[in-house]
């Protein structure tokens, strides 16, 4: 996984609340059995003039020349709510987004970000509004810098916002760790736990299909 330490980039405001993963990547844009090829479908319903089309909608912020090379998204409450589709994060990554600053995040989306090297930053509405006001003045010049070591967002206009992130998630991102490899270091502990659980609750480990009297359908 790609590590995240510090990042400086163009930030684009999408200050709606409840931007869901269907909006981030509509299901019709998830065309292949792959984690790749999704960047084009990012925000497709807002980004293009026609469903399934590729003609840019000039009104959408990411299509405006001022926001070329955006790598940070500023948003409102509950960003990434809805479907668990990790395609939303894969699409953001492929587009070039490294961090999202929002008032809160959908829980599954938040974890998906961490697992793909995207930093979810939680800040209060007031701070996000101030950051948006700053970048909107001159998006290409008024870049934001996010430092995960120091857990702060800064801008050259004197902006300085401190955020927090769970230590486990922070370590994963800072070091770009493979969580499966990390967990398999605990394989003995897992096996011991499993053995104890199977002793206490054998029913939880048995598959009774076929042994049960075929049940009459019960609502």
């Amino acid at each position: 996984m790609k590590a995240f330490t510090t990042h400086t980039g163009v930030a684009a405001p999408l200050l709606r609340r409840n931007i869901d993963t269907d909006a981030i990547i509509p299901s019709r844009e998830m065309k292949r059995v792959s984690k790749l090829g999704l960047g084009e479908g990012l925000f497709a319903a807002w980004r293009y003039t026609m469903p399934g089309g590729r003609e840019a909608n000039p009104a959408f912020v990411l299509n405006q020349p001022a926001y070329a090379n955006t790598s940070i998204v500023l948003s409102g409450e509950n960003f990434g709510c809805g479907s668990s589709r990790e395609h939303a994060v894969w699409a953001l990554v492929e587009y070039g987004i490294r961090a999202i600053i929002a008032e809160s995040f959908g829980a599954i989306f938040h974890t998906n970000c961490i697992r793909n090297g995207v930093l979810p930053v939680v800040l209060p509405a007031r701070d996000i509004r101030a950051l948006a006001d700053f970048v909107q003045q001159d998006p290409q010049r008024h870049c934001l810098t996010i430092d995960l070591e120091q857990m702060q967002v800064t801008g050259e206009g004197g902006q300085h916002c401190v955020f927090s992130l769970d230590e486990g998630a922070r370590e994963m991102l800072l070091q770009g760790l493979d969580p499966i490899a990390q967990t398999l270091q605990d394989r003995e502990a897992i096996a011991q736990f499993e053995q104890a659980r199977a002793t206490a609750h054998p029913w939880a480990f048995r598959d009774y299909a076929g042994s049960a009297v075929s049940a009459e359908f019960k609502p």
Binding site: R17, A23, E86, R115, I180, R197, F217
Partner: protein
């Protein structure tokens, strides 16, 4: 760091959630996450193939394929006589790849033509795969449905699915606990769907953010398992980590004899344990919400978030009355939905009615809708589609003659799957079409580009289909409420 054996009964008063958490916590990890043991994993063709393929290419085997289940629900067609071919141009690729990956890894597959195929969250309780006291994860956000039976179940992404498949664990930050107590009893004609829409509209689509939410109180205890599944299904629309309901005698009766549920001697041992799975009397929750059931009315959404819900008898709001950030979102929602501020919901003409999805496609939902549609026709120009949540539900409905009621009223009767709950299968009522839908999400484009979704209960969907505009069902003596078998017989005669 040695493993901790599961311990039943803690010294201090404990919540149901904490009991389940403690019973599955392998250890607390440095950094504050917990390593949580996973008992069951469910996959589907949308993400299952990617997870299994990705795991294989990373060189990790599936640790215990016997406790992994996979279904074809998201993309598969629901037209009668379907095969692998899908309306979605590349959908067949997902189905074929999932079948190959599932067979190779040895997980249990409910294939397109399997007699027990259906929506993951419908078939997992229906077959006793999800059980009280188990952890179950699935790369689908509505996995929280299964908290309804006292399982600790939650939706995950693909990377987490790979982690669970490879290790039978997940690294999870422990959520806080919330209890939503619903006092009294729901009024006739008011369903679990109305209750959850009421909660989300009152406390916001992020009202449960960071919490595992236990539903409790007399109104919850009176619900059947299927209604409880509807309630917990939409915990994710409340942004909760999951929903939970303590298993009780209703839960036990539901599971006894199910295919994968404990049989013979094991049943008593399992059931004894399940009876311990309830929040202790003095257990402390991080947050408590109390609702009065009799204040809840049939609900419908006006906008593009489940929080945009009002009573069917109500009006869409005026964004000018919203706080600043909410005003812009609300105005965009009204624009998308093509309705004016203050619109009287019951005056909105509809183009289509949809009954289906992991929220409301179980036999009790179909009985409820059929009890309203019986002997009636849906309004001219309204397209109606019913999609049973599983093939077992379909067979049962057909055995009861419900399919005839639907067909005679003008609804299409389909094979099981997620269908038009979303657009993954490539099927839609069309741009600009107004759909009253028993599903869970009214997001922009959710049911197809430009399609306007109004979420409601199956009762409201059925009544709206007949009226041709949004309409709550009038509770009648013969309306099926799911309360008891006698009412059912009365309703469907």
């Amino acid at each position: 760091m040695s493993a901790v054996a599961p311990v039943a009964g803690a010294a201090s008063p404990t919540t149901l959630f904490d009991k389940l958490w403690q019973a599955h916590e392998v250890r607390l990890l440095p950094g504050g996450d917990s390593l949580i043991y996973i008992d069951r994993i469910f996959l589907h063709e949308r993400t299952g193939s990617i997870a299994l393929q990705s795991l294989e290419s990373a060189g990790y085997p599936v640790r215990d394929p016997q406790r992994v289940f996979c279904t074809m629900d998201h993309i598969v067609d629901t037209f009668p006589g379907r095969g692998d071919k899908t309306l979605m141009p590349s959908g067949t690729d997902f189905i074929v790849a999932t079948r190959a990956a599932a067979n190779k890894s040895g997980v249990q597959l409910f294939d397109v033509d399997h007699p027990d195929q259906g929506i993951a969250h419908v078939i997992s309780p229906e077959q006793g795969i999800a059980l009280p006291g188990l952890t179950l994860v699935c790369p689908d956000s509505h996995t929280c449905s299964l908290g309804a039976v006292g399982a600790l179940a939650w939706g995950i992404g693909s990377s987490e699915a790979e982690h669970a498949l490879a290790t039978n664990t997940l690294r999870v930050r422990k959520p806080r606990t919330m209890r939503v107590t619903v006092r009294g009893q729901l009024k006739p004609g008011v369903t679990a769907k109305d209750l959850i829409l009421h909660l989300i509209s009152a406390y916001g689509a992020d009202g449960g953010s960071g919490y595992a939410v236990e539903f409790a109180g007399s109104a919850i205890e009176a619900l059947g398992v299927e209604a409880r599944l509807t309630l917990c299904n939409m915990a994710v629309e409340f942004s909760a980590f999951t929903g939970l309901i303590a298993p009780d005698a209703i839960t036990e009766a539901y599971f006894k004899g199910r295919d994968h549920a404990p049989s013979a001697d094991d049943w008593d041992q399992a059931a004894d344990y399940w009876r311990s799975l309830r929040s202790d009397v003095d257990a402390v929750f991080d947050r408590e919400i109390i609702l009065d059931a009799d204040a809840i009315q049939p609900m419908v959404t006006w906008g593009t978030s489940p929080e945009h819900a009002v009573p069917v008898s109500g009006c869409a709001p005026d964004p000018h009355n919203f706080p600043s950030a909410g005003a812009e979102s609300a105005q965009k929602a009204l624009d998308y939905q093509g309705i004016a501020p203050g619109q009287v919901m019951a005056e909105l003409a509809i183009d289509a009615a949809f009954i289906g999805s992991c929220t409301n496609s179980r036999i009790s939902d179909l009985r409820l809708a059929a009890s309203i549609l019986r002997g009636k026709k849906i309004a001219p120009g309204v397209a109606g589609v019913v999609v049973p949540g599983s093939r077992r539900v379909k067979r049962q409905a057909e055995a009861e003659g419900l399919h005839k009621i639907f067909i005679e009223s003008g609804f299409e009767w389909r094979d099981s799957g997620c269908s038009m709950c979303f657009y993954a299968g490539g099927e839609t009522f069309g741009p600009g079409k107004r759909v009253v839908s028993s599903t869970n999400r009214n997001f922009e484009g959710r049911q197809g580009p430009g399609t306007r979704t109004h979420l409601a209960s199956p009762a409201t969907v059925a009544a709206s289909a007949i009226a041709g505009c949004i309409r709550a069902a009038v509770p009648e003596e013969n309306m099926y409420t799911g309360a008891d078998a006698a009412a059912l017989q009365e309703a469907i005669g």
